[in-house]
């Protein structure tokens, strides 16, 4: 049996763990969410450049907190799931 065949055989014989699959989906989802949170920061910056003088600091603060929470949740999902 070649190493490749052995690898496939191992994959087939490994019992399927449903929760591992869910964990992977959660991690991928939170990864995408992290990218979204980063885009939101950029978006707030671009939007606030169009009209200067608006009080946008609360929005920037929210956007940064949002990014921080997204990072935290991704790390949390990697550790506790």
């Amino acid at each position: 049996m070649t190493p490749f065949e052995q690898f496939i055989q191992n994959l087939i014989n490994t019992p399927f763990n449903f929760w591992i699959l869910i964990k992977i989906l959660f991690v991928i989802g939170f990864g995408l969410y992290l990218a979204f949170a980063a885009i939101v920061i950029r978006q707030v910056k671009i939007m606030s450049e169009v009209v200067e003088g608006l009080s946008v600091w609360p929005l920037r603060l929210f956007a940064w907190i949002h990014l921080g929470v997204a990072v935290f949740v991704l790390l949390l999902s990697l550790t506790i799931l």
């Binding site: 869910i22 959660f26 885009i39 707030v44 169009v50 009209v51 200067e52 608006l54 929470v69 506790i80």
Partner: protein, 211 residues
């Protein structure tokens, strides 16, 4: 022949032609310029990205705050979903850690929805300057769409109000037809649409008077 009676002469002021054509109006709106204001006449500290040095912003508008009511209700309902879901279905077959992360994920998505809708309302603005009209749109997270029309290219300005909420809260649409490449600009759901149309018409008249 000598005059028998000479009345006191009144001082006559010469009024410039421009003022005769455009009599000064009392300021119609005296509203404080707040963080969530949807109608800001003559904003002092605001500046548009491509504003010229001697150009002045006459009106700064965004959709009436009441237009946010729909998504605020949706957000409120979404926030209640996990509470009801966990009280009706305990989800005991799901491991606790997954339940916890799922709970957080739900509220993150709810927050993202509400924040995006708020940003969309906050930054989709309409600006009227003494030279042009600008419509700033952010149709989605990655797109920016800015349309503008010079006052001398505007052919017709009309306002439209209809429906219970719009009539009661006095907000509606202003449609601006132009002779430029962009056939029509619309200011949607802005407060005092009739006054805005009137102000734009006055500015056009003033602009035509200068030419």
């Amino acid at each position: 022949m000598p005059d028998i009676f000479v009345g006191p002469q009144k001082e006559t002021k010469t009024i410039p032609l421009k003022k005769l054509a455009m009599p000064e109006k009392k300021p119609v709106f005296k509203k404080p310029f707040g963080f969530l204001s949807a109608f800001i006449p003559h904003p002092i500290n605001l500046r548009y990205e491509f504003q010229e040095k001697d150009e002045k912003i006459v009106l700064f508008l965004r959709r009436h705050f009441f237009t946010n009511f729909g998504w605020l209700i949706v957000t409120f309902c979404l926030a209640l979903v996990p509470i009801f879901a966990f009280s009706f279905f305990p989800f005991e077959f799901v491991p606790l850690s997954f339940r916890f992360i799922g709970f957080i994920a739900w509220y993150l998505l709810t927050f993202a929805f509400a924040f995006e809708r708020f940003l969309s309302w906050f930054f989709n603005v309409n600006i009227v300057t003494d030279r042009r009209i600008i419509d700033v749109n952010f149709p989605s997270i990655l797109y920016k769409d800015i349309s503008e029309a010079k006052l001398d290219n505007i052919q017709d300005v009309s306002s439209k109000t209809g429906g219970f909420a719009r009539s009661f809260l006095n907000y509606g649409d202003v449609l601006i037809q132009t002779a430029g490449t962009l056939p029509e600009l619309s200011f949607e759901a802005i407060p005092f649409p009739d006054k805005v149309a009137e102000i734009i018409n006055d500015l056009i008249a003033e602009e035509e008077g200068e030419l």
